[in-house]
Amino acid sequence: MNFGRQVAEFCRRDLLTERRAGEVISIVTPFGAVALMSFPLAFGIDSALISRVGPAVFWVVVFLFTMQIALRHSAAERPHQRAVIALLGVDPFARLMGRTLAAAVLILVFMAVLFPAMILFYSPDLPEAWPLALVPGVLAGIGLAQVGTLAAEITAGLRTRTTLAPLIVAPLAVPLLIAGSQALESLASGGSILPWTVLVVATDLALAVIGAAIARPLEEASL
């Protein structure tokens, strides 16, 4: 089986599992919406402030909850299942890519649900060209899936997994968080999204290179 088909097979399996278990749709997304809704309540009646911070709060909520998605999703494979898959001669990077792709789909669905909710709760003053910000936004979502899957793989089987994973995630996700939120800010002030898009593409590529380099040793360590 070639690399692309292996990637597609892992992605398919994970999405089918998610469709049946419904963790992202039925558990994480409602909590994300509640988190988004609770900020305006905390800010009180200052509607100008609420409108201004809306996109930034959206990205903070996306960042926090997508890590939950990626970590929960990646924890679904147990050591003996990994062993059996390794014995089928599967390329570990294909496995990592397939799982990342599935996490990216889930994260983008999560973002697609939360973005209209953010507009509803915060009434932000979006620039006319706001759809352009979807480009770095989607790429940042893919990057967050990469970060979350990598962190889950690095900490697989460790007792300190739940503590260690966020510490790995935080520094790696900073450029994605900045690029995602600043793209919209830049459009609002008449600037370009290009530098933010370049930043997020560079981060995504760097994460992919790191994944390719460490997929094999990570798999060996987790068996």
Partner: protein, 211 residues
């Protein structure tokens, strides 16, 4: 030519020695059992033979590849392993699980359907793994091994939780493997039960294999 050749294989988990000097030769056509009490290191030994764990010291060669070396990745697809727990994904049906493994192994999914039929699971194939009994899940795991036709078959407590029909499947699977020039290594704490399924039984004691 040996299929498995272990020389003074030692393995430690931190400061705890698990294997303290295992010597073992397994030849094509052999069915070998390794008996020992719980915690004696049987599963660890099996994971070394499966190339999934490298020894701390000593020489381990499996299907002409050194365990821990780059060649080991290439021979992994020739090894079939059934562990304590069936490697099924709970939310997928038995058929979807088998199709998943078939696709990853580069096999036609018809092979998976055939294997499910061989283990008598065609009627339950569309049930999710999580609602199946342990016996059915073990059978589905055996179907995976029937489908992938390994040259080296590794069975960890193969007969635990299986009825007589399923044990007959294990026996047929291991006979097919050895008649094709392969070998079978089985580990269990139940020496008497294992004696019915293998040609010779060794004992793992104090981290060493004894006749």
């Amino acid at each position: 030519m040996t299929i498995v050749r272990l020389r003074n294989v030692q393995l430690r988990f931190g400061s705890t020695p698990v294997l303290t000097g295992v010597d073992l030769d397994i030849y094509p056509g052999e069915r070998v059992g390794v008996a020992g009490p719980n915690g004696s290191g049987k599963s660890t030994l099996l994971s070394v033979i499966a190339t999934l764990r490298s020894p701390t010291s000593g020489e381990a060669r499996v299907l002409d590849a050194t365990v821990g070396g780059p060649q080991a990745y290439g021979v992994r697809r020739l090894i079939g392993w059934s562990g304590h727990e069936p490697a099924l994904f709970e939310e997928l049906t038995l058929r979807e699980n088998l199709h998943h493994f078939a696709r990853l192994a580069g096999l036609d999914i018809a092979e998976a359907d055939r294997a499910l039929h061989q283990v008598g699971l065609e009627g339950a194939a569309d049930r999710r793994a999580r609602v199946c009994s342990n016996g059915m899940r073990r059978r589905a795991d055996l179907a995976r091994l029937l489908m992938t036709r390994p040259r080296l078959l590794l069975l960890d407590e193969a007969h635990a939780g299986l009825d007589a029909d399923a044990i007959a499947i294990v026996d047929a699977l291991s006979r097919r493997t050895v008649s094709a020039g392969g070998a079978v290594v089985m580990v269990s704490h139940d020496r008497m039960e294992m004696e019915k399924l293998v040609d010779r039984v060794l004992t793992l004691r104090d981290g060493r294999v004894e006749p």
